[in-house]
Symmetry: C2
Subunit: 384 residues, 2 copies
């Protein structure tokens, strides 16, 4: 059996591949954060971050992963005993629920099948039944199931009501269209290791005046994540900012601006389409009822050991995809098309998947998945 140079291809929904042009920014000299030089870098970076949220409101950055930003949202908006609506249709919906529990909220849960997407109507119904709810917590892209919700439609519902709409856009930002101000999403959180093409370790958050209204009233204990401190010191950071991560973020934002955010969204749509076409051609089934362009969750076919799929792809071919989480362990596998990815990353993932499925005894015609993905690219890039 032939030997193989194992290059590493990260095709999981975070961390995603970091371009060398960003990595080298991270390798630049760490300067002191309380210098005019660094504060000017912070200002440039945070101002340009508004573009990816499509907002005129401030964006705040702090050293933490996405979960920290989610905690910031809960701690700043929710006081003990406050009624909140939490959508749970996967692992990251559960995380909102756990955070709200930790802060003593009175939780109204919209519990859905994993793979389902909450609808604007379901949100409206829950709000009509609970007019005293102060916050709606949603997951724009539920990474555990590859599902994206109709955030624009949901915002249309909440905009008219005295309720704050929060969304976890940790995996969605930069992959799915997001227009915070135009749609009326009140608070958005994200993390660095996804569509932003950075290593893990930095979280971003932006909120509008409606959300600030609750922040002023929150009685929850908070210090590191107290958004009032960040607003007060903006663009400086109240504590020590993650200097080199900020360098990298600045570069990532330049790259996204150069590509154009609409083009970035469109690129993810095309990679998602190609992945879905390949999966279908291979005779496999999607988990999600409303699949998004962040990650494609695929049901493990009958008779195949699901845990072997990511294992062989990683250990034998160097291609890191994700398996299922929690109750979906062994039942699905997930191929990301997130961040710094080109069509050939998708071709690579499908090709490694085909070799792996062949080894596991799944019956299909070798090459049909890649062919279907190529056909999507041919249509998109040369119009045939």
């Amino acid at each position: 059996m032939g030997k193989f140079l194992k290059k590493h291809y990260i095709m999981a929904p975070g961390p995603t591949p970091v371009p060398n042009d960003i990595l080298t920014e991270g390798a630049k000299e760490t300067i002191h954060h309380r210098t005019p030089q660094f504060v000017s870098i912070m200002e440039e970076t945070l101002e340009s971050a508004k573009y990816i949220f499509q907002t005129k409101h401030n964006v705040y950055a702090f050293a933490s992963t996405g979960t920290g930003a989610m905690e910031a949202a809960v701690a700043n908006l929710v006081s003990p005993g406050d009624k909140v609506i939490v959508v749970v249709a996967g692992k990251f919906g559960e995380r909102w629920r756990e955070l709200c529990q930790a802060y003593g909220a009175d939780i109204v849960e919209i519990a859905l099948e994993w793979g389902d997407a909450v609808t604007p109507e379901q949100i409206e119904e829950a709000l009509n039944k609970n007019p005293d709810a102060k916050v709606v917590f949603t997951t724009y892209s539920e990474t555990s199931t590859g599902t994206v919700i109709d955030l624009e439609g949901i915002a249309r519902v909440t905009k008219e009501k005295d309720v704050v709409l929060v969304t976890d856009a940790v995996s969605a930002l930069g992959a799915e269209p997001l227009k915070m101000d135009e749609w009326g999403v009140d608070l958005v959180v994200t993390g660095s290791q996804k569509g932003l093409m950075l290593p893990p370790g930095l979280a971003l958050i932006s909120l509008n005046d409606k959300a600030w209204g609750l922040v002023e009233k929150s009685r929850s204990p908070r210090y590191y994540f107290d958004l009032r401190a960040y607003r007060k010191s903006y663009p400086d950071n109240p504590y020590t900012p993650a200097v080199n991560m900020i360098y990298m973020l600045r570069k990532a934002l330049q790259m996204i601006k150069e590509e154009g955010i609409e083009n970035v969204w469109e690129r993810h749509r095309i990679l998602g389409d190609a992945t879905r076409a390949a999966v279908k051609a291979l005779g496999l089934e999607l988990l999600s009822k409303r699949p998004g362009n962040v990650v494609t969750a695929v049901k493990v076919p009958e008779g195949i050991d699901g845990k072997q799929i990511p294992k062989i792809m990683r250990d034998k071919y160097g291609v890191t995809i994700a398996g299922g989480q929690a109750k979906l362990k062994g039942k699905i596998f997930r191929i990301a098309h997130l961040g710094y990815m080109s069509p050939f990353d998708t071709i690579t993932a499908i090709s490694a998947l085909e070799l792996t499925l062949k080894e596991l005894g799944y019956e299909f015609e070798l090459g049909v998945g890649v062919k279907a993905a190529e056909a999507v690219f041919a249509k998109e890039f040369i119009g045939e």
Copy 2:
């Protein structure tokens, strides 16, 4: 038409992709070259370089590209008026001829069609006709045509005679089996930006006692490339060595040793097989009559503008392959499988080629090339 994230894939026969683990070595502090610290690094590096030449003789490194090492070979072996045999079956055979001309040699040329491979019998015949020839200059892998010669067979001929066998292994080293001592190749030159996975700028040369015999007698002017100076100062360098390139070379040699040189050769063979299978499945024809595993040269099909193929692949898809050189311009294109490359690099190249050929109006079934390459990998890696 969809937009595209243009990642860069170097699939030309040099420079080849440089792994980050090597690039970061190049980013390390430049220390002074006349320190025990650096001389010890030089020694470790040059000693371990013997492994890739499969020789017990010293390997010398200097700052230049492969052409400089070729000049070193000519200047050190050939005196004005010396009779030499030069095989010319492509652009790099021509380079030997030009160098021998520059140094006033009496040239016996074995001129072949570009794409042909010189045989041991042809060498033997030339030597029988020219028993006074002092050197035979060969090109192990003729990069301009994707052809590899039977170097082992040729060495079997020259070993028994009073003639020095020189080979240009600039693109071959690390891709094609090479056993300098066992086969009896007297002088081998190579460059850094090929199988060694380094940026351009460093050349390596190794020679045995038979070759040293001519070096002692050469009356040609030489200074920077005077091999006697390198032998005298070994492992130190007579002039300033390319410090950071040496760091990178050390790392590259570690990586090759870890993979195992036989595995490296075998990997190139598999990628070559897959590329040839894909080309055939696409209904295309190879240029070479004895194709090697460094680069695959493919004839441009009838009715297609050959110059457009590398242009579209590079400008639209970010995949840099090579066109034809000199008399083959526009008539062939060349896809490398050289250096730091995995099966998915080959899949990427074939996929980009398919999209490009489709755009140019060449008729074939989309996906057949990738499928054929995948079938080679399936056979090699999972035995079916």
